[in-house]
């Protein structure tokens, strides 16, 4: 079920790459090349931790569900989980 979902995401229009990162910031699945993956994983992991910490510091009952970074070239979407992090980079067609 999960594999299909990931495949569908990857096959979706405009999606550049998909990365699954574990709790320690180590990428376990990726469709991009190694150096890019490592870079994305490390940086986004830290950012997600920070974002989650921010949200929960304000209200401990709250929690981060999704993180989106829109840049000029593309959009980076991060879906955090208890232990994992799912990162998708997409070129939203405009």
């Amino acid at each position: 079920m999960l594999e299909e979902t990931l495949k569908r995401i990857q096959a979706h229009k405009g999606v550049v790459g998909t990365i699954v990162v574990n709790a320690e910031g180590i990428p376990i699945r990726t469709t991009l090349d190694n150096s890019t993956t490592v870079q994305y994983a490390g940086l986004l992991h830290q950012l997600t931790m920070k974002a989650r910490s921010t949200v929960r510091d304000i209200d401990p009952q709250n929690d981060l569900t999704f993180l989106r970074i829109r840049s000029k070239k593309h959009e980076i979407m991060v879906a955090p989980d208890k232990e994992y992090l799912l990162i998708v980079i997409q070129n939203p067609c405009e």
């Binding site: 999960l2 979902t5 979706h12 376990i28 510091d57 401990p60 994992y84 998708v88 939203p92």
Partner: protein, 804 residues
Amino acid sequence: MRGSPRLPRASPPRGTYHCLPVGGAGRPSVVGESAGNAKALSPSCGRIGRARLPARCHGCRINFRSPVGRGGGVGVPRGRAAAAAAASRGAGGMPGKAGDRHQQGQTGPSGGKAVPARPAKSVSKKRDEDASTEMGEGLDEWAAAKTLIKPPDQLELTEAELKEEFTRILTANNPHAPQNIVRYSFKERTYKPISYVDQMAIHFSLNGNMILKDSDEGRCQNARLSTEAEKPPVEDSKIISEEAEIKDEESTEDIQAAGEEEAEETGTAEAAEAAEAEELPPPRPKERKLANQFNFIERASKTLNNPLRDRACQSEPTPCKNFSATANQWEIYDAYVEELQKMEKSKEKEKPRAHIAKKEEKRRGRKSTSLESQSDDITKVSKAAKIMERMVNQNTFDDIAQDFKYFEDASDEYRDQQGTLLPLWKFQYDKTKRLAVTAISWNPKYKDLFAVGYGSYDFMKQSQGMLLLYTMKNPSFPEYIFSSESGIMCLDIHNDHPHLVAVGFYDGNVAIYNLKKPSSQPSHKSSAKSGKHMDPVWQVKWQKDDMDNNLNFFSVSSDGRIVSWTLVKNELVHTDVIKLSVEGTTMQGPEGLQLQTFGCGTSFDFHKKIDYLFLVGTEEGKIYKCSKCYSSQFLDVFEAHHMAVDAVSWNPYHMKVFISCSSDWTVKIWDHTIKTPMFIYDLNSAVGDVAWSPYSSTVFAAVTTDGKAHVFDLSVNKYEAICTQVVVAKKKNKITHIQFNPVYPVVIIGDDRGHVTCLKLSPNLRRMPKEKKGQEVKKGPEVEIAKLDKLLNLVREPAGQAGR
């Protein structure tokens, strides 16, 4: 160097002399002799202390007069070996040995080199010539064996020089003592030589520990020893034996001669014991202890230093792990929440109703543990992946999402009451491309989730069916997928249990799908045994739970039966509610049987408020008003249409009004108390479905097989649709169903190609009564009812008023 051993002397020795090596500069090597000149006494036997040598050395039997000595060769190792061998022969071999040794001695200081043998045959020959009879074979051998080797640095001396005699004088002077010591005399203020120099040379000094017996110290010691004798003899004997050892060699006699007092001090332990046993020394007055302050003797002994050895042992370092954490507000909160949960769990366990709870917990626990054991794999990301998929879709269909949310067609103002339908998303799934949409329903709980049933209306082409649930958040892929062998004809989602979907099949079966369970098969299904329909089931509808709290739904089918299905203990139990018998069609069959033909129900709808009341539409075009209580009688019959009634639906607000549509191209609105319809609309094409809008009692929509959707608002225009729009891509596509979303201003339309389209209603279609200034706008169902009532009143014939 003492060379020759003590030989049996033929004549008494004349003073001490040594046989010195040959070669003139014989060096005296004994300390104590004067540094007199050593004389080379003979070629091979150097003697001192003599003026003249005999022809032959008395000890050595070497002929001195032979000119052998020149250059003084040295006996070769062969000579040495011969000499060693000859030594055992006694006197005969002695001279060779002695001489050899001396020669060796000379060569020692002069170099000690192993010089290759140089056979000096001529020399030996001469020797032999001069040899007396006394020269035996041994000597011959020796002479022959001996080869004179001249060391390269030997002094070359003449014959005369060699025969020179040296005199040596023995004095008692210390050769090492300085002879020219000078001291500064303060009296004369000059350096003056000292005439007398101490000539004593100390060769060896040892501090002994012997004390003179008669001295103070000695007497003191004696006294001490005598007192100690009273102590156990063993110790004494030890001490005694020690002392004895020390004094053993030289003073044994003294001790023995000492007398009674020292009898204990004698050497052996046995003697001491015996002595002690016999004699007891008289106690001596203690003498003043003399402390020897000056003659300090240090005695030291060194013990064996045990060699040290390192022994080390290294253990495995304990595994270390770095741990770091932050203490944030939310971490503290999490800890508290965990603690709270634990406490609650423990409380639950304590309670007596823990039976059920425990079981549930166990099941939950098992589930969670089984999940956890599978953890460490990637399936935990499934939730995140779902969200991600929706986000990705949102990005892709961003404009549509924006339209859905915010777009309001501004041009509606200029359209004068006409409205439009804005197409939004299109939902399709590749496996349903050949199937027709046979049923659509929104989920009552999740307003974005809707269920679509797939099957086929074509009698000839019947294939499998599918049940898909889509969400508007993800237009690319359905959330739930179920497949079945037979085409699905209708579905309904339970209001209170939004995870239960009742489904009717083309083959007459009904089934319940449970969305919470992951399987693709229905959780309950009817079968031929359990009273399935003979013909396709055209409509199913959930009812309220019956008195035993069992789930319950109704189904209507072409076989004329309306069946109530109850889920009793995981089984579907059917109850025939009504058999639709067609009036006046009892036929006389053969042999007098009364055959009754049944009408074929094609649709039904239950009243929202009046529980037992429901409407059934049939293939003949009749609409029956029925009650659940009466199983054989209808309450009323409406001659509605000429062809099959495709849909009937009660108005959500008005209690009396319902709508019906049919393949005879008409849509009719009825008041159930009046036999004739209130409104009739002809849509020029077979009407597939009709639906009331949830937000207004006067708005409804109908879809026709020519691909058009018609929206009517009775309060705006009683006779015409305010919107007629083609909503499918190809004209060939026939629209089969339409449903309004209960919350959002969208409708979904399904066609017979398996497509589901979502359209947004433009503002004109959603018009609410305008607010008048100063007047409160009444909201709520009463308003709607009143609105509709007003309309109806206009329509109703005055004659009809009597019948109300």
